[in-house]
Amino acid sequence: MKNIFLLQWKRFRREPVLFFSIFGLTVLFVGLFGGFSQVDKVEVPTYFDPSVEGEKDVWLERLNEADTFEFIEKNQDSIIKDVALGYVNYGLEVSDDNYTLIVAAEHQELVLLDQFLKQMFTEEVRINTIASQIDNTEFRNDVLTALNEPPLTVEKTTMNNESRPSYDARLQALFGMTLFFAIYTVFYSLMNVAREKRTGTWNRIILSPVKKWQMYFGNMAYAFIIGFVQISLIFLLFKYMFNFPLGDSMIDILITVLCYCFAIVALGMLVLGLSKTVEHLSALVPIVAVSFAMLGGAFWPLEIVSNNILLMISKVIPVTYGMEALTNIALGGQNFIDVSSSLALLILLGVLFMGIGINLMERRA
């Protein structure tokens, strides 16, 4: 097995272009979809009605307490013009007890913006109503003090810390693209088996004292390590160079990557078993990689998928569990024991795929 394994690395050293191309593409796509730097706040051009003329700065300050949005004052005409021409997706008009969103087309951030504004205005209207009946300044100060030093604190926890972590677009891009491109790296590495069968070196090795299982494991170990190295390097690169919030425990992330790589190598063996020729395999690789990435939530979160059939299919796709475990570790602060059900399913799928794949290959031999 050692000789077969080392041979693959020797061959890799001579022709590393494919690996570095896929590595480069992963970095590029993560950068394009997730952004290399911290996510900027979404700018919201805001116009203040003459009814709030005197309190403009106070309003702007309160609005800009939002984590996601940055409200920038502009005049009404330029907001309407920019929205009409499509330069901005929406604008905001603030009056003393209400707000208006100027929208040309529906946008995914609108829901969040509307929610934030609704909450803020409701609170503001409540305070104003009470304040108008008593001493305005004193009441506001009392509210602020109460907010800073609450008499009662309610802490919410769920069993086994299984609360769904919130969504992060940068991590979605990083995990999704990396797991997706790693499928190519692993599959193309395993393609060596198909090529060896075609050139006849496979048969030559069969006739040597090397056992069949050693031949398979030598090739699989190489594909596994190259996939693991690629994913790990990309995660480390984006964590330490571009400050992606991968969480505190890289060890848990890497354990997940190990399980994912095992499942993908096994899937590769299944694809190899299903292909009759190298050409057939070359055609099959992108089909499997893209469809599995789509169905497994690498391109978009599975939470937005409502079709039950697609959700059912996603249960037998390793990408699903890889994404799930990585997101829970990075955003939910979980460790590998917390995500052990996802990891166990990755290993289970791996064992299943590998069993079928090797069986198919041996039948064809």
Partner: protein
């Protein structure tokens, strides 16, 4: 030493090898001659234990290879028809890998690589990538890999396909030396009659999965010992001339060649006069006439009705 009995292989409903019986004695050089698709490669795949026969047996020193493939694998070297080496590696690296999987290491491996490279005449190119080699050189490295672990028995499946005459000559000479000087037992398959004639002590002729004739070269050509071959060269093709010759009952076989017509006729039949008479009648322009002793090619044609390279 090696024997096959009633060896048969079917793929789905197609019979690729049909009840093949052959044997090889130690130190013998045996040829398996037949056109493409005759079943030669399938036969040697079964002998080398790469594929299991549908029925029949392969015996190595009386023991079943089908039941225990390792008994032949340890002493066998196979030169496949395809160039089964890693083209992105150097000649040395290829031999190093294949040597290691046969358990060679250290100085013994180094020494063996040098020796083998010398045999195939590539000691000067050992550090070059195989992909930079000519077709002939690749074929030689392909052979070197099979020789590395000093096999007792070597199977060569058309080792000279697609190479220049010089390289072919080098390989044939190398095979002859391995057999004569090192006492290696050789099973050589080819559809080049002249290679088999030159290298092999005995020949099996195979067609449509069956052994149709066997013996030494002399024994095989004696199949046509009571016949002779008349090679007629013409200035251009004459279909009506061929037709007339075919109608002649004294002519045993008429076949159209590249330059004219080949006839198999009974020895001393004195048909030349008759042939010239027909040619004159049909206004056929004969350029050259040659009367020959039949070759293996003619034997094959006689047995199968088709040429080796059909």
């Amino acid at each position: 030493m090696l024997e096959t009995t009633e060896l048969k292989k079917t793929f789905k409903n197609k019979v690729a090898v049909d009840n093949v019986n052959l044997y090889l004695e130690k130190g013998e050089s045996v040829g398996l001659l037949g056109p493409n698709g005759a079943g030669k490669s399938t036969t040697i795949s079964m002998i080398s234990s790469l594929i299991k026969p549908t029925s029949g047996e392969v015996l190595w020193h009386g023991k079943s290879v089908v039941k225990n493939p390792n008994i032949i694998r340890d002493v066998l070297g196979v030169v496949p028809q395809e160039i089964a080496i890693y083209e992105e590696l150097t000649a040395y690296e290829n031999l190093q890998f294949f040597g290691r999987i046969y358990g060679l290491k250290g100085k013994a491996l180094e020494q063996k690589i040098d020796e083998t490279l010398k045999i195939v005449g590539l000691e000067d190119r050992k550090k070059d990538l195989v992909k930079t080699f000519s077709g002939g050189m690749k074929r030689r490295i392909n052979i070197a890999v099979a020789l590395l672990h000093e096999p007792e028995f070597i199977i060569m499946d058309e080792p000279t396909v697609g190479i220049d005459p010089q390289s072919r000559n080098y390989i044939l000479e190398m095979v002859r030396k391995l057999n004569e000087e090192k006492g290696m037992t050789v099973l050589y398959t080819s559809h080049y009659m002249e290679e088999v004639e030159r290298l092999c002590d005995r020949i099996y002729i195979m067609d449509h999965g069956k052994i149709i004739a066997t013996g030494t070269k002399e024994e095989l050509t004696s199949i046509l010992s009571s016949e002779e071959k008349i090679v007629i060269e013409l200035d251009r093709p004459y279909p009506n001339f061929v037709e007339k010759l075919e109608q002649n009952e004294k002519i045993l076989q008429v076949s159209v060649s590249e330059k004219g017509i080949d006839l198999i006729v009974p020895k001393n039949s004195q048909l030349l006069g008759e042939i010239f008479h027909i040619a004159e009648k049909l206004d056929v322009q004969i350029v050259h006439v040659n009367v020959q002793v039949p070759t293996l090619e003619d034997v094959f044609l006689h047995l199968t009705g088709r040429n080796l390279r059909d």
